[in-house]
């Protein structure tokens, strides 16, 4: 019995999603009275640091860095058998989601995805958000083996131990049927699903030429920018910024919504944010009902003023 965490390294190094998964794996291992083991595949700079977040062992399997769900799932399932893991944990990320279902089938495990709680009770009960944030469901996993994916920004990493030496794990790697031609990631920006601070704007901005004040705010805060769907649809902003039911679903600690009305389909992707600030000139805008802090005013006055105040605050912090 052990908890195995797949610590992804999409761009060759261990990132936040993997550290959060290990943090969760460690909490789960503690509650089950067993140990948490991290598994990396291919290049994984910083893998030793997973020890700090509670991995008792860190393994690496030498394989291509080109992600192929079929190949990686086989490696992870085999690793689970070798280390005697009954629980396999993934980040609820692009790769985690692509693998979890495959590993669940291979290992005959029960799968629950986007989990927000540590397993409880003899029945291994975990909780997740459902119906676009309008409810939560508790799941019991009735199979002996369990596979979980962990919602982002939910289990803040804590240093509980030290680096551990990365050991090689010997596994036969099957040939991939997929050929990766290219991979591109936006450098220097925290991807939206991982971002803790998000500044988002909508149609109230009137046009793409006005986004300078939004980017300025994001710059001051070190936040990632997002937008409502109509704004992405008319190409004012890139598609990957679109949040909501049909876009990216996020759970940042702070979501600042500027000139967004707060339609239910928009809220579906952002209502799990810890704190929501809404800036809108219409006091009747539905978004205020979902907000923690609200400013009723013209964004073209309010945002520059807020940027000034944020700048002053940041300077006083240094």
């Amino acid at each position: 019995m052990a908890v195995l965490v797949y610590a992804e390294s999409l761009t060759g190094s261990i990132k936040k999603a993997a550290i959060e998964a290990v943090t969760y794996g460690n909490l789960t291992a503690q509650s089950l009275g067993t140990e948490c083991i991290a598994l990396t595949i291919g290049t994984a700079e910083g893998a030793a640091s997973l020890g700090q977040y509670g991995a008792a062992k860190v393994y690496n399997v030498a394989a291509s860095d080109d992600f192929d769900a079929q190949v990686y799932a086989q490696i992870i399932s085999e690793a689970a058998t070798q280390v005697g893991a009954d629980v396999v944990v993934f980040a609820h990320s692009s790769s985690g989601k692509s693998l979890a279902g495959r590993v669940a089938v291979r290992t005959k495990a029960g799968l629950v995805s986007s989990v927000i709680s540590v397993p409880e009770g003899d029945q291994f009960t975990v909780k997740k958000g459902v119906f676009s944030g309008k409810g939560f469901a508790s799941y019991e996993i009735t199979a002996d083996k369990k596979v979980l994916t962990i919602a982002g920004n939910t289990f803040p990493p804590q240093v509980v131990a030290q680096d551990v030496a990365v050991e090689a794990l010997n596994i036969n790697v099957p040939t991939s049927k997929v050929k990766v031609l290219s991979k591109s990631t936006v450098d220097g920006v925290v991807p939206l699903p991982e971002a803790e601070l998000v500044v988002s704007a909508g149609r109230g901005m009137k046009g793409p030429e006005n986004w300078g004040i939004i980017e300025e705010m994001a710059g001051i805060l070190g936040a990632t920018t997002a937008c409502s769907r109509p704004v992405a649809d008319v190409h004012w902003r890139p598609h990957h910024e679109h949040v909501g039911q049909t876009g990216v679903a996020i759970r940042p600690t702070l979501y600042i919504a500027v000139g967004i009305s707060g339609a239910i389909q928009h809220l579906a992707g952002v209502n799990q944010s810890k704190v929501i600030v809404v800036i809108n000139k219409d006091p009747e805008a539905p978004f205020f009902k979902a907000a923690d802090y609200g400013v009723v005013g013209d964004l073209f006055d309010v945002v520059p003023r807020l940027n000034q105040a944020l700048k002053k605050f940041k300077e006083s912090q240094n």
Binding site: R102, F136, A137, H240, L306
Partner: protein, 246 residues
Amino acid sequence: MKLLVCVSQTPDTTTKIKFANGDTEFDTNGVQFIMNPYDEWYALVRALELKEQVGGTVTLFHVGPKANETVIRKGLAIGADNAVRVDAEATSAMFTAAQIASYAQSEGYDMVFLGKETIDYNGSEVAAMTAEMLDMPFISYATKMDVNGTTATINRDIEGGMETLEVDAPFVLSCAKGMAEQRIPNMRGIMMAKRKPINVIPAVESADLVKVTKYEYPAAKSGVKLIDPENMEELVNLLHNEAKVI
């Protein structure tokens, strides 16, 4: 090409969600169901475009009771050639995947299209499971696909970026925004859909392995605190000292 498109149904996002039986069940009374947007807008339309380009058939596949045929008819009206319905409640992702895999295996499809996720439980589970059961490559979160012969070149979403890859049919694909543009069924499509066959088949056996034991409503927000638009220092102060998020 033989193309299979798996479609699920989901409550319309604007529906009020209620739980019943001591909060152990989702109360479907009065709930308006729609075809899952990722299946309708992206998976189905891309499959239809491909058929228009290279020929072949587009078959819809749905696991669910007869009442769900409204959703299947809509897919037929948009342009699918025929449909298969497994006459059973889709009780879990594992069960659903087993139905898709069993049927796809017996019929031999070149590509199996699914949506990125169903927007009720946001599981994103069925597609990967289906691919594993079929022992096929799985391309998730596809945003663009070009097909040349039996080789597909696909863009897919990865965290904070994009990947381009090449894969030969057969494979399983989950579709995200960008794959295609939504099509609205026209009158002719709706008329023709009435005559298209829906083949009803029994379920193959499969265990669920997970079950929902309880639902809860989210805690109500305590209400918005309004801040004077002239006083943004106050907002910054609250975010720092009260909410502790900056």
